[in-house]
Each structure stands twice: as structure tokens, then as C-alpha cells.
Amino acid sequence: MEQGIITAIRTVPLDHYVLLSFLLFSIGVAGVVFRRNTIIILMCVELMLNSVNLLLTAFSAYHSDPRAQVFVFFIMLVAAAEVTVGLSILVMMKRNVDSVDVNQLNRLKG
């Protein structure tokens, strides 16, 4: 990693990164649990993944350990695949129930 970027990252204290990640992750969780729009839910999932990515990068820079960045690439890759599947489900959902409201999918009611 370029020395300049690392220095730039280190200008912000690590606590702030942790706090930001925590906030972003919580927003993601809240969005997934409380929002009804499936597109928003998918976006919130992405938000959670990226908050983790942010944290991993910050720790990587502070500890001068590149291994965490490898994880970040993996997560991005998996996230891309997940979005593909999620969006296909969304398309099928729109075609079948003509809505993107996740509460329309309630046929598993016991």
C-alpha cells in the first residue's frame, strides 16, 4: 500500500473508524429488519458488508498487515455474487406478485 494513503488513514484515530463501522452496520441491520422494500433490504445488506470492509481496511493500515485486505477482496467478490442472486429474486418477485414489498411473500405462514 502506498505510504501516503496509510499516513492519511492514520490521521483519523482508530476509534472513529470502529464507531463509524458500528453505525453503518447498525443502520444496515435496522434497514433489513424494519424496511419493507426489498431493494432497500438488499442495499442494507450491502451496507453491512461494506461497514465490515471499512473496519478491515482500517485495522490493516494500523497494524501494517495486508492479510485483512485479502479478505476485503473476497467479501467484495461474494457481495457481487450475492447481489446477482438477490436481484434475480427481486425480478421474479416483481413478475409474480407485482410488488417489491417483502411482506407480500408470506405464504410460509404457519
Binding site: 441491520v29 433489513v32 429488519v33 424494519f34 424496511r35 419493507r36 417483502v102 411482506n103 411473500l105 408470506n106 405464504r107 410460509l108 405462514k109 404457519g110
Partner: protein, 627 residues
């Protein structure tokens, strides 16, 4: 060819036949199936003869180990065959007579649409019977023992479309199972005492042992023998077993399977010699069976039923011989009985075949002009079983009678009486079937050559069978006894110490009385044809005998009725009052709990996600706290 391979071939050939025939039973014609089955069992016979010729009795038996089978802890049971004088004798009987009966069946079964199945089962029976006699330990014998029971069941119920035949098959199966429990218990006791099931080891270790456990073990073995060999109290299945095709009656229920009990006793002769109490029980059960079955034979009207009761009675004689400790006499009678009883059954089959399925002797008569070969061979068989001098039955039965006389004149008297009954009912059968005038409607015709050849061979054997064990009195030296002595140590304890004069007098008495009985039967059934009327019109005692001493009814009252009563009550109380509410309660409870719990499944995705989240947090907290 090595003896090991030959020994393995003897049971393997019929097994191969059974597998091939069972898989191709829809494609093969009756004659092809019969030919194949006969060829394979004949191959088995040839192998047995080769083994016999290459066997030196003085060297003693040998064990052919095929593979290690059970090897658990201290229990080692190999799959091994024992080749010695005893197993060779039985192998020759099973495969020799088996071949003749297979050949006969080609003619007898050629019109049956399920003939290939029949031959498959017949071959399977031969395999099981050979395993029974060749096994080197109790367990291999027991496998064969169960196998012949199964084949017996299958073949009795071969014509399964008649419900009574199925009932007869089931009866045979259940009765045999009762006896089999005895064999299992005996095996457990012997294993516990000796730590092995190998015949040779047990007999070596048991010699001279004085242990009440042996009495229990031999009694259990004898219970097994009563089941398989149709002795009191388990004999009632054998007459019903006549529901099967006649070749089956000849092979399984006369010549081979029913002698398994005698074989097992001779195999374990050392144990029985150490348990005189068991031997006494065998002696009395044998005597009682011989007389009881012979008396029932007097008034039966079904040609096969007469022969069936005769078989039970003759088996009784064999057990008497065992009870007297004269194992060689028992085996000798097994052999000659196999000859003449197979002959009689096959002859009866030929008569039934000639009359298109008629089995009632009241609708026969005067057949000697129509079916000459059958008549002559049947006559030979009847003469042999009645014990006319110099025929095979004469020697074997007289040997048993001589042993009985040596023990006690009372037993001799009872057995002689039984022998006279035998003579009477057999000649009654012969006279009513072949003499007088024909009383039926069918047109008798002689059977084909495949059926008459076995009859002729067996007739010759029935005449000459006595030579196998010709007594000293007639210039022989009892070759069969000395041959068997090398395999069954119990034979070594035998001693017949009657003077030649006593023996001649005994034979004279027997022969004279037999002659008188034949004359009486001639007067009653040839000069005036006396047929049995309806049972209801008979005097009380005679009716009791004609109704088989009402033993089936007795068993029904003693076992079936209480059992049904118990079952019905258990059904009414234990089933309806306890089990049904219990089971329904469990079901109802599951439904009620489900009814409450199912509301958790709202179908709302957000709710499920929230629940998942809560769960995750919960597990996380637990994990953190537990550390």
C-alpha cells in the same frame, strides 16, 4: 479332483440349480427345468459316490473348511463341511433318492404351470438338506435345519390357491419352529459348557463327562428332533403335510427331512450316551408314537394319509432304536425306510396320476391289471415295510426288535404289535387299491417312463437294502454298523448279546404273525371288500381312532382356544383401553402443541430476520459469558 472341491460341489450344485431355476422360472419349460434340476442333483450324487469311494473309514472323518465365518471374541465358527461315515451315508441317501425323485417329478409335474418354481424349491431343499448332514458344527447343521423347514413350508403350500394347503403349510412351519427353539437352546447350553460348536471337539471333550447340563442339552436336542421328525407331541403336522405334491411327500416327508432328528441324535450320540434319562424318554416317546400313528393308519381313507401315518410310525421305531442306544440300527432303518417309503409314496403318486388326481382308496380297486409296473413295485414296497423275510425292512426292523427284546420283553411286545398294525394297514391299502373291482370313474393309464424308472430302481433297492447291514445270522458281518462306528462313537457302546437261537425264534414269531395278519387282511379286503363307512356310524372307540385320537382337537382346546381367548382379552383391555388412548393422546398432544407453536411462523420476512438476529445475539452473549 481334490476331495475338498468335491465336498464343496455336493451342496453347491443344487444351490446353483435353485438360483438358476428361480431366476429363469418364467422362461424355462417344465421339461427343461426338470432336466436341469435332475442333472444337477445327479451331479451331486456322482460327487458323493466319488467321495465315498475315496473314503477310508479306518482313517476316520475329516473336516473341509471353506471359510472363516463367525470369529467374535471366543466364538469361532467356520463354514466347514464334515466328511465322515455318517455324513457320507446321509449324503448318498439324500442325493441318490433325491435324484430318483427329481426324475420322477419331471413326469409328475409336467402339466403344472409352475413346474420350474417347483424344481427350484426342490433343488433348494436338496442344498439345505446337504448342509444339514454335512455341517461340521451345530450351527451349519442348524442353517440346513431351518432351510429344510422353509422348503418344506414352501412345497407343502405349493398349490397355494387352495386355502387348506396353506393352512397345512403354516401348521408344519409353526410346529417345526417349536422344535427349533429346542435346538437353539441346546446349542446355547453346549456352547456355554464347551466353548465351541464343532461336533468333533464337543464329542472329544464330552467323553466321560458327568454333568446334569448334558441331560438338559440332550432333552432340548430331542425336542428339536420331535418337531422335525414328527414325534409325539409335535407329529400332527406331518399327515397334513401331504397337501404338497406327491414327490415332495416322498422326498421331504418320508425319505430325508423327517430323518433329520435321527441324524442329529446319532451325530450327538456321545452326549446321549451320557444322558440315560433322555434315552429313556426317547424310548417311550418313540414307542408311543409308533403305536399311536400305526393305529390311526388303520382307518384312513386317503392313500397318502395312510402312508403319512405309516411314516410317523416308522420314525417312532427309529427313535426307539435311538432310545435303546442302538444307533446303527436306527441309521439302518433310516436307510431302508428311505428306500421303501419313497417307493410307496412314488407308487401312490403314480396311482393318483393314473386316476387323474383321485386320492380316496374307496374309489379305487382292481388297478393291478391297468398299471402293472406300479402294482408290482408297490407290492414290493408293501412287502418290505411289512417286513417279509429277506426284504430290506425285515432286517432293519428285526434288528430294532431284537434290541428291544434284549432290553425288555414288554417293549418288544408293544413294538411287535405296532409292526403287525403296520402290516395290516399296508396290506389293506394294497388290497383296496389294486385288488377287487374298480370303484371309480376315471380311466386308469400307466405313468410315463420318467416315473416308472425311479419306481423300479427303488423296488430293487427295497429288496436288496438288507445287504447293507446283513447280520451275522445270515452270514454277513454288519458292514454298515462297522462303517458308521468310525463316525458316531456312541455305536461303540452297542452290544447285542442274544443267542442265535433267540434271534431265530424272534424272527420266527414275527414272520408267522405277519403272515397271519396278511391272511386276515386278504380275507377282509379281497374276498369281501370292506370299506370304512361314515365316521358318525362307527362304534365309539373306532371313531376315536378314525378321528386321529382327536389330537388336533385336543391341541385346539389346550393351546389355540386359550391363546385366542388371551388375544381377544388383550385386544379388548390392553389394546383398546391402554394402548389406543395412549397413542391417540400422544397424537392429540402433538396437534395441540403444534397449534400454539405454529403461530410463531408468521410468514413475515422482516419478523423472521429479526428473530434470527435476536438468536444470533443470544448465542453471542452466551458464548461471551461462558468464557
Amino acid at each position: 479332483m481334490s476331495t475338498d472341491l468335491l465336498a464343496a460341489l455336493v451342496p453347491a450344485l443344487p444351490l446353483v440349480g435353485a438360483v438358476i431355476l428361480a431366476s429363469l422360472r418364467r422362461k424355462l419349460s417344465a421339461n427343461m427345468a426338470g432336466g436341469l434340476a435332475t442333472a444337477l442333483i445327479a451331479g451331486s450324487f456322482v460327487a458323493s459316490v466319488l467321495l465315498f469311494l475315496g473314503f477310508d473309514a479306518n482313517v476316520g472323518g475329516r473336516t473341509v473348511k471353506l471359510l472363516d465365518w463367525i470369529d467374535v471374541g471366543g466364538m469361532q465358527i467356520p463354514l466347514a463341511l464334515r466328511i465322515d461315515a455318517l455324513s457320507l451315508t446321509m449324503m448318498l441317501i439324500v442325493t441318490g433318492i433325491g435324484s430318483l425323485i427329481h426324475l420322477y417329478s419331471i413326469g409328475y409335474m409336467h402339466e403344472d404351470e409352475r413346474a420350474p418354481t417347483f424344481f427350484a424349491q426342490l433343488n433348494l431343499f436338496s442344498f439345505a438338506m446337504l448342509m444339514l448332514v454335512m455341517g461340521s458344527n451345530f450351527l451349519i447343521t442348524f442353517i440346513g435345519w431351518e432351510g429344510v423347514g422353509l422348503c418344506s413350508y414352501l412345497l407343502i403350500g405349493f398349490w397355494y390357491k387352495t386355502p387348506e394347503y396353506n393352512y397345512a403349510a403354516r401348521k408344519a412351519f409353526v410346529m417345526n419352529r417349536i422344535g427349533d427353539v429346542g435346538v437353539v437352546l441346546a446349542m446355547v447350553l453346549l456352547f456355554q459348557r464347551f466353548g465351541t460348536l464343532e461336533y468333533a471337539s464337543i464329542m472329544d471333550m464330552a467323553t466321560g463327562v458327568n454333568d446334569p447340563l448334558l441331560i438338559a442339552a440332550t432333552l432340548f436336542l430331542f425336542i428339536g428332533a420331535t418337531g422335525k421328525s414328527a414325534q409325539i407331541p409335535l407329529f400332527t403336522w406331518l399327515p397334513d403335510a401331504m397337501a404338497g405334491p406327491t414327490p415332495v411327500s416322498a422326498l421331504i416327508h418320508a425319505a430325508t427331512m423327517v430323518t433329520a432328528g435321527i441324524f442329529l441324535t446319532v451325530r450327538s450320540s456321545v452326549l446321549f450316551e451320557l444322558a440315560p434319562f433322555t434315552k429313556d424318554i426317547i424310548l417311550w416317546i418313540g414307542t408311543a408314537t409308533a403305536l399311536l400313528a400305526a393305529s390311526i393308519g388303520l382307518f384312513q381313507n386317503d392313500i397318502k394319509k395312510v402312508l403319512a401315518y405309516s411314516t410317523v410310525s416308522q420314525l417312532g421305531y427309529m427313535f426307539v432304536a435311538l432310545g435303546l442306544g442302538s444307533y446303527s440300527a436306527a441309521m439302518f432303518h433310516v436307510t431302508t425306510h428311505a428306500f421303501f417309503k419313497a417307493l410307496l409314496f412314488l407308487g401312490a403318486g403314480s396311482v393318483i396320476h393314473a386316476l387323474g388326481g383321485e386320492q380316496d382308496i374307496r374309489r379305487m380297486g382292481g388297478l393291478k391289471g391297468h398299471i402293472k409296473i406300479t402294482y408290482i413295485t408297490f407290492l414290493v414296497g408293501t412287502a418290505a415295510i411289512a417286513g417279509l423275510p429277506l426284504l430290506s425292512g425285515f432286517f432293519s426292523k428285526d434288528l430294532i426288535l431284537a434290541f428291544a427284546f434284549q432290553r425288555s420283553p414288554v417293549i418288544f411286545g408293544l413294538l411287535l404289535f405296532g409292526a403287525l398294525l403296520t402290516t395290516f394297514y399296508m396290506f389293506r391299502l394294497l388290497f383296496l387299491v389294486f385288488y377287487g373291482t374298480y370303484r371309480g370313474k376315471a380311466h386308469p393309464h400307466e405313468s410315463p417312463l420318467t416315473m416308472t424308472i425311479p419306481l423300479m430302481v427303488l423296488a430293487v433297492l427295497s429288496v436288496l437294502g438288507g445287504l447293507l447291514n446283513l447280520p451275522h445270522l445270515f452270514g454277513g458281518n454288519e458292514p454298515m454298523k462297522h462303517f458308521l462306528e468310525t463316525a458316531a462313537a456312541g455305536i461303540g457302546y452297542e452290544h447285542l448279546e442274544l443267542s442265535a437261537l433267540t434271534e431265530i425264534i424272534l424272527m420266527g414269531i414275527t414272520t408267522t404273525l405277519v403272515g397271519i395278519v396278511i391272511y386276515v387282511a386278504y380275507g377282509r379286503f379281497v374276498k369281501t371288500t370292506t370299506l370304512e363307512g361314515e365316521e358318525a356310524a362307527m362304534p365309539v372307540f373306532k371313531r376315536l381312532i378314525a378321528q386321529r385320537w382327536r389330537i388336533d382337537e385336543l391341541y385346539r382346546a389346550l393351546f389355540e382356544k386359550p391363546y385366542s381367548w388371551l388375544s381377544m382379552n388383550l385386544f379388548a383391555v390392553a389394546e383398546k383401553k391402554v394402548m389406543v388412548p395412549l397413542m391417540n393422546g400422544v397424537g392429540d398432544a402433538a396437534i395441540r402443541v403444534g397449534d400454539v407453536v405454529r403461530r410463531v411462523q408468521t410468514g413475515n420476512a422482516s419478523f423472521h430476520l429479526l428473530a434470527m438476529l435476536c438468536g444470533l445475539i443470544l448465542f453471542l452473549v452466551i458464548t461471551l459469558l461462558s468464557n
